[in-house]
């Protein structure tokens, strides 16, 4: 039969989340398995086989497999990428380290900058030069190519990045180097800046190319394995990968340009949260996605996540913009911090408790997993505090040891902090919550939004455990934990459109563009965007141009037809310019800077929009399972109601302290909050005293609160 189901797989640093969805009915099954870092496909295999069995179908029944992974991001943040050699124009090999030469914090005398991803000895100058118009000033001689190849070989590089000055205007030299490298060093993958990000701006282009190289060997091995696995289970249809921009792309794109999937998993989560926001008509939502390794925050206004080309990975201390590696590739505009279930807690030299940013990951994982991890993590703390049920971890499919968690806290924290292990556990919980609240606040406020005016959509395995406490710190008065929250990102995957975007810098005055140029550039972009096997008739292709007033930086992205209509583009430019800048653009010549293509094949829109998951029918039976003790810091030990989420009926509510258990996560309802279930199975948490708070606070109210 032709496929009627799809499988969505989201591999995180700690857990792999999977969804099997019937694309006609929206019915779905979910599961969550431990990520297997040494070979992530192992976990996928276990999860997919389980879901196929549950659904009673075979691999051949699948229409498509869709996949997101944080492997690329984690490779950068954990500095576990390839040894990269960088070929740059002679005299300019330090661009990577010098950056824009700014200071991201105006007052910090102890300021730190990110370590360059290529050691200086592996940055090699190549004698060649072109100018901004693409004219060759110094030809790239064959002997120089040979010298460069030999140098890359001698450097023992596992991947090579090539970024020559002005290669966006003249890619030929990079292509020559690329061809020679690929021929003579077939095992060393090559990234050319003119392919990865052909836009003007040497530093940003170089960083994107280097990051691409840095993650590429790991990603290629992995994607090959993944495709092989799809074949093994009899799936003959396509495999798609989630890109940072919230769209999907084929394996060929992903294995050449993994830098475009650096925010793959987080983007899927934001797409899922946006859909929940739309279903519930929440216009200002903080998407809060806490997994095993990191937490991701994204402000979603009017149901659409904002796209930006100012992605930055691996920011250093204090989440400061400018302190990480800038990636000028289109991405969902989100903030990521090193705070997840696996984040390790320690005592610093100043005697202060610190949590993260490093993570125990899946292997060895938190101490309670009993896989050799000895350091206490957030998950260990949550277990000791009573938030997690050791007998119902992943629905009872995984055994965790409270004793091991206790021992890790006692051995590493309690003695040095001179506190009981359980007090340390509360400290870990509180510190990590404070960190996340701060990050969420910075992210919302940076966009001019008061977090108190927002609802929070919390998901990811650890999101619902921490949501209530983080919301309390932010005075957010409404938290939604959707059905399937524990695998929320995977649901985002299941309904994303397929998108392919490409860009080319070619600066030309608007009134000097002829129709031939337009045709040539459009054809080039189309070839780059779509593989040869693509049925081009089924694709919705849009061409766009970035237009600006010559001499200004402000660019407006406008649709481009088959011909250039300068008058029409001029009007459209002015219409976009005016509301942003507050006036009509002045006299001056317009120019096109970047040419873009966006090719889209519609998303699988099946199923209901409200919830992340599709199946929310209440199971028979009593929802209250009993009670257990929670340790809540200053409040001490309290007895909390334990609820089975699957047995809760629409309209049913529970008052904190309570824990609502589901297979993939646990919703912690703190004292002072209550949780109610809506008809779609979403849980809504609200503080009791804040029930009637208006969305916007007036001055008078500010005064009294």
């Amino acid at each position: 039969m032709t496929g009627s189901h799809l499988v969505a797989v989201d591999i995180g640093g700690t857990f792999t989340d999977l969804v099997l969805m019937d694309v006609t009915t929206g019915q779905s099954h979910v599961t969550k398995v431990l990520t297997t870092p040494s070979d992530p496909v192992e976990a996928v295999r276990a999860g997919v086989l389980e879901l196929l069995e549950t659904g009673g179908i075979s691999g051949g029944d699948l229409e498509s497999v869709i996949h997101a992974t944080t492997l690329a991001t984690n490779t950068v943040t954990e500095a576990k990428g390839a040894r990269v050699a960088l070929l740059g124009t002679e005299g300019f090999r330090d661009i990577l380290e010098m950056g824009r030469e700014g200071r991201y914090d105006a007052y910090d005398l102890q300021i730190q900058v990110p370590r360059p991803l290529v050691d200086r000895e592996a940055r090699l100058g190549v004698r060649e030069r072109v100018d901004y118009a693409g004219n060759v000033l110094t030809p790239l001689e064959p002997a120089e190519i040979e010298r460069a190849v030999a140098a890359v070989r001698d450097a023992g590089a596992e991947a090579v990045a090539v970024c020559l000055l002005h290669s966006y205007a003249a890619p030929e030299h990079e292509a020559l180097l690329g061809a020679a490298l690929r021929e003579q060093l077939p095992d060393v993958p090559v990234s050319l800046s003119s392919e990865v990000l052909p836009r003007r701006g040497e530093f940003e282009r170089m960083v994107a190319t280097v990051v691409n190289s840095y993650v590429l060997p790991r990603m290629q091995v992995y994607l090959r394995r993944f495709a092989g696995f799809c074949g093994e289970i009899g799936h003959e249809g396509p495999l798609f990968l989630m890109m940072s921009n919230g769209g999907m792309a084929g394996v060929d794109v992903a294995s050449r340009h993994p830098v475009r999937m650096i925010e793959s998993g987080p983007a899927a989560g934001v797409i899922a949260a946006s859909r929940v926001a739309r279903g519930l008509d929440l216009r200002r939502v903080l998407s809060f996605d806490m997994g095993g390794t990191t937490a991701k925050a994204c402000l979603v206004q009017d149901f659409e996540p904002r796209l930006a080309e100012n992605l930055e990975v691996a920011r250093l201390q204090r989440f400061a913009p400018g302190s990480g590696y800038p990636l000028a590739v289109p991405s969902v505009d989100l903030l990521e911090i090193g705070a997840g279930g696996g984040s390790i807690a320690r005592v610093t030299s100043l005697g202060l408790l610190e949590v993260g940013p490093d993570s125990a990951g899946a292997d060895p994982g938190p101490a309670c997993y009993g896989r050799g991890g000895e350091l206490p993590t957030v998950t260990d703390a949550n277990l000791v505090l009573g938030f997690l049920n050791p007998d119902y971890f992943l629905g009872g499919r995984m055994t965790v040891s409270r004793d091991a968690a206790d021992a890790a806290l006692a051995g590493n924290l309690a003695e040095r902090l001179e506190r009981e292990p359980i007090e340390c556990a509360w400290g870990v919980y509180d510190v990590v919550n404070e960190q996340m609240a701060r990050a969420l606040r910075i992210h919302a406020v940076a966009q001019g939004v008061d977090p108190r005016d927002c609802s929070m959509v919390a998901f990811g395995g650890a999101g619902p455990v921490h949501a209530c406490a983080v919301a309390a710190k932010l005075a957010v008065s409404h938290v939604v934990c959707p059905t399937g929250a524990g695998v929320g990102s995977a649901f985002g995957l299941a309904r994303a459109p397929r998108v392919s975007e490409e860009l080319q810098t070619h600066v030309v005055p608007l009134d000097a563009v002829d129709d031939d140029t337009v045709q040539v550039i459009r054809a080039e972009l189309l070839d780059r965007a779509l593989g040869s096997g693509e049925d081009r008739a089924a694709v919705d292709v849009r061409y766009l141009v970035d237009v600006r007033l010559a001499g200004q930086l402000y660019e407006v992205t406008l649709p481009l037809g088959e011909r250039i209509d300068p008058a029409e583009l001029g009007r459209a430019f002015a219409d976009e310019y005016e509301p942003r800048i507050g006036r009509r653009p002045g006299e001056g010549r317009l120019e096109i800077v970047n040419w873009r293509i966006r090719a889209e094949v519609g998303g699988t829109g099946a199923g209901q929009a409200h919830a992340m998951g599709g199946t929310a029918t209440a199971q028979d039976g009593e929802s209250i399972k009993g009670s257990r003790g929670l340790y809540l810091g200053p409040s001490g030990q309290v007895e909390a109601t334990v609820v089975d989420r699957y047995a809760m009926a629409a309209g049913e509510s529970v008052t904190g302290p309570a824990v609502i258990e589901e297979r993939e996560s646990t919703v912690v309802v703190l004292p002072g909050f209550h949780a109610s279930m809506d008809e779609d199975g979403n849980l809504h948490l609200r503080p009791k005293q804040y029930e009637a708070v208006p969305a916007t606070l007036s001055a008078a109210e500010l005064e009294t609160r």
Binding site: G91, G99, Y132, D450, A699
Partner: protein, 544 residues
């Protein structure tokens, strides 16, 4: 409005996001490299009495320190400032110390009610006179002076003033365009402030400014309270036109009162070249250095000035009298940050930083493109940052000013210069247990005849010094290499490049921290492997 910690934090964040949005508008609509790429500007919001509400995150530190004082001076000289008025000046004594910086003040009215003011300060690509440098003898040579005047009155533009400006500058399109961008940025901030007032249902922001000021003052006093009471002092030399200029300071810390008073008595009298700073400029950088040392996390509010008394001797190079030349006012003015940090380092070694390779050489190039179009822009080549107790100094990072470099690919597309090299400069970081950051070598070849070059640079004789036994950073060097003869000659002030001539800039490195012999062998090995330190220097400076 009574304000608790949360409400004030949220309001302050909102006010900052307003100026940041305004600053983004300025960057996007400005025409000159100095604003849009180098980011030599600041935007601020003041309450109706001229007290600071917020300042843009990306800002030149000194602008933050001078802004509210400038605004109050402008208001004193031009009352009334009504709806639709925009006041400007580039007076170095009222503003930020030299003529290229244009200060703009725009009131924000809601009907008849004055909400506050937007201030935009930006460095113009050119202001006429000699090309920006240190070789003028009096202010009159340094360009057009704009006394406190209205650029707009009741919403109507003062075209006479604009024509006068255009007629006096080398790149009239850029300067007029940038002034226009400043106005656009001001309007964005004004609109957002009106929105906020509407949301709050209040037109009075004075209590917000006051609360910020009080909290800032209190926090600064607490930070000072952590110091040991006592008197600290020191001096340093800055190269002038011919004789060295001495900058001396005495710092009295009263921990119990939470107060610091500084006195620059003993500093060299003002000189007849453009090496003079104005007192306002000096005070702003002095406060900046103390804030960096004592309270880096504190938002910059006027309150941090309150516990500080800064005495700048009138008629000295730090507090010159009109009409002294001030083109290179940052050479001496910014040296106060090095001096204050160096002097306080003995009390708070963990918080200090060795001298930075700063100020970075500021080289203005101006001339005509092959097609006759004029150009004028600064080449900024950042020096290395100083080393700290816990870490090496980062390479090529500006201090205390905070500008960025123009991207090479942008520079070459707009300017008839061809870059031959821009790389880190081996051995320019001062040796030490922690090494100073590296400076860079920058070489650019002229593609047309007649490019005028003007140099503002220091640390060509007096390097960035190390702390606690750390070595000095490498010296700055500015030179022109003749395309015809291959000869290289050092450049101290101005030159004229012909096609094929090369401008060479070596920026200074940062000072080291702690004795070089204590450097971790693995770190030194990595330095040598990467070419940050040569094998010779490893032997000579580190004894390896």
């Amino acid at each position: 409005m009574r304000l608790d910690g949360i409400s004030l934090a949220i309001l302050h964040s909102r006010l900052i996001s307003i100026v940041d949005e305004s600053a983004a508008t300025l960057v996007r609509t400005a025409y000159s490299h100095i604003i849009r790429d180098a980011k030599d500007f600041a935007v601020g919001l003041l309450d109706s009495e001229g007290h600071t509400l917020s300042q843009s995150t990306e800002s030149i530190p000194v602008f933050l320190g001078t802004m509210s004082r400038t605004a109050r001076a402008l208001l004193e000289q031009t009352q009334p400032v009504g709806p639709g008025d925009i006041v400007v000046t580039n007076d170095p004594w009222l503003g930020s110390g030299h003529l290229p910086d244009v200060n703009m003040l725009m009131p924000v009215y809601d009907g008849d009610a004055l909400l506050g003011y937007v201030v935009v300060i930006a460095h113009m690509a050119d202001i006429g006179g000699r090309i920006l440098g240190t070789d003028a003898n009096e202010l009159f040579e340094e360009g057009l002076q704009i006394p406190v005047m209205k650029l707009y009155e009741g919403g109507r533009r003062n075209d006479a003033l604009l024509q006068l400006v255009r007629a006096n500058v080398r790149v009239p399109e850029q300067v007029a365009g940038d002034l226009d961008a400043m106005v656009a940025a001001g309007h964005v901030a004004a609109r957002r402030l009106l929105d906020l007032a509407g949301e709050l249902r209040s037109t009075d922001f004075t209590s917000v400014a006051q609360a910020l000021q009080e909290r800032g003052e209190q926090a600064m006093r607490e930070a000072i309270g952590n110091l040991a009471t006592g008197t600290y002092g020191g001096e340093l030399l800055v190269e002038g036109a011919d004789v060295p200029l001495m900058v001396a300071v005495r710092i009295d810390v009263d921990a119990a009162a939470g107060e610091i008073s500084l006195d620059y008595a003993g500093t060299t009298p003002q000189v007849s070249t453009g090496h003079n700073a104005t007192a306002g400029y000096t005070s702003a950088y002095t406060a900046y250095a103390l804030k960096c040392l004592l309270a880096p996390d504190l938002p910059f509010t006027e309150g941090i000035f309150t516990p500080l008394t800064v005495n700048v001797p009138e008629g000295s190079v730090l507090g010159c009298r009109r009409p002294a030349a001030v083109g290179g006012r940052h050479l001496v003015g910014q040296s106060t940050t090095s001096l204050v940090i160096r002097v306080m380092a003995e009390a708070i070694p963990e918080l200090a930083v060795a001298d930075c390779g700063s100020p970075r050489p500021f080289i203005t190039v101006a001339g005509r493109q092959a097609d006759g179009a004029p150009f004028s822009l600064p080449i900024l080549a950042m020096g290395g940052f100083g080393a700290r107790a816990g870490s090496d100094g980062p390479p090529t990072m500006p201090f205390p000013s905070n500008t960025e470099a123009v991207p090479i690919e942008t520079l070459e597309a707009t300017t008839p210069l061809h870059l031959e090299e821009k790389e880190l400069l081996c051995d320019s970081g001062g040796a030490g247990r922690r090494r100073g950051g590296l400076g860079q070598r920058f070489r650019a070849r002229a593609l047309v005849d007649g490019i005028n070059v003007s140099v503002i640079a220091t640390r060509t004789r007096y390097p960035a010094e190390g702390l606690f036994g750390g070595g000095s950073g490498g010296l700055a060097r500015i030179a022109v290499r003749s395309g015809a003869t291959g000869e290289e000659r050092t450049l101290a002030s101005v030159a004229r490049l012909m096609t094929g001539d090369e401008l060479v800039i070596e920026s200074p490195g940062g000072g080291g921290y702690g004795s070089p012999v204590e450097r971790d062998p693995a770190a030194l090995e990595a330095d040598v492997a990467g070419g940050y330190v040569s094998a010779d220097a490893a032997a000579a400076c580190y004894g390896r």
